[in-house]
């Protein structure tokens, strides 16, 4: 067997003896607020928000305001398994949207969560 083949076999063996893992899961509502939407403070009604985003994850009452709170949890795990070094990274992203409505059901203010940066 030539040295070239031996090196190739060694590399293949190293490849066989390593592995990788990846999984992801979601929980909560669909984050439709990341799609183009046209919500305007003082104009948009709670019915329109419901029609656009679906039922909220949570409904709160703050003074005389009603709050719709949406949450989507996204978990991703990636891993590299080698002979003498392994590394796994799990990132949980909590994608959120919050809407405040007055007593007439008109939008007072709203906001989305800032997007997470990847783990270094």
């Amino acid at each position: 067997m030539s040295q070239k083949y031996q090196i190739i076999i060694a590399v293949i063996l190293l490849g066989v003896l390593s592995g990788c893992v990846h999984y992801s899961r979601d929980a909560g509502v669909e984050n439709l607020w990341r799609q183009p939407q046209s919500f305007i403070n003082g104009v948009t009604t709670s019915q329109k928000v419901l029609a656009a985003l679906g039922p909220p994850s949570q409904v709160l009452t703050v003074g005389n305001q009603t709050v719709y709170y949406y949450l989507k949890e996204q978990v991703t795990r990636e891993g590299l398994l080698l002979l003498i070094y392994n590394e796994t990274t799990e990132v949980s992203v909590f994608d959120r949207a919050i809407f405040f409505f007055d007593e007439q059901g008109l939008l007072v203010d709203f906001s989305y969560s800032k997007m997470a940066e990847p783990v270094e």
Partner: protein, 184 residues
């Protein structure tokens, strides 16, 4: 390459698993955008600067926004046991780095109090015995894997209050902050 060299190469491959190995497990829960120091007057300014809060709590005469993120680094050292080639003893420790912002408002939305803090704490040291090609968790992180209370809100409404062990009233009425790593 002669037979002796081939034999040495094979032995090297056989003994590689017996060497010590190391693993790095990284976890990131949530994200709080770094911001300059600012003094908001009301909740609108907080929403526009930091986005939707990680948790909202409503009290009798106030409401609270909390922004919380946790980064966990868990370095591990694996030691193979010569008599059991397939198993590895893993020693590990974990450190959590927290980033936490707290804003309290009157029910009319004016700021009452605010606090921003950053700290880290040890989650403990431990060891585990597992297969050599599996990354084992050496620290109990179960409290970081419970569902967010927001996602239990609707379920809590459907429970028969006379039959359940926990009323979930705090969750239903949002009377508590849902912080990452905080069990119910």
């Amino acid at each position: 390459m002669n037979k002796q060299a081939t034999l040495i190469l094979l032995l090297c491959f056989m003994y590689l698993p017996l060497l010590a190995s190391c693993s790095m497990v990284k976890r990131q829960y949530g994200y709080v955008e770094p911001i300059e120091r600012f003094s908001p007057n009301d909740y609108h300014q907080v929403l526009h600067t930091l986005g939707a809060p990680d948790s909202v709590a409503v009290l009798n005469d106030a409401f609270v926004f909390a922004y919380h993120s946790v980064s966990i680094h868990e370095p591990q050292l694996g030691l193979a046991i010569p008599a059991f080639d397939l198993f590895k003893l893993t020693l590990g420790s974990a450190t959590a780095i927290h980033n936490y912002h707290f804003y309290a408002f009157t029910l009319q939305g004016d700021i009452i109090n605010l606090q921003k803090t950053h700290w880290q704490n040890s989650l403990g040291d431990s060891s585990s015995l597992g297969l050599i090609f599996v990354v084992e968790e050496t620290v109990d992180l179960a409290s970081f894997e419970v569902p967010r209370s927001t996602n239990l809100w609707g379920q809590g409404l459907l429970l028969e209050t006379n039959l359940i062990e926990f009323s979930f009233e705090d969750i239903i009425l949002a009377k508590r902050l849902d912080l990452i790593g905080q069990d119910y």
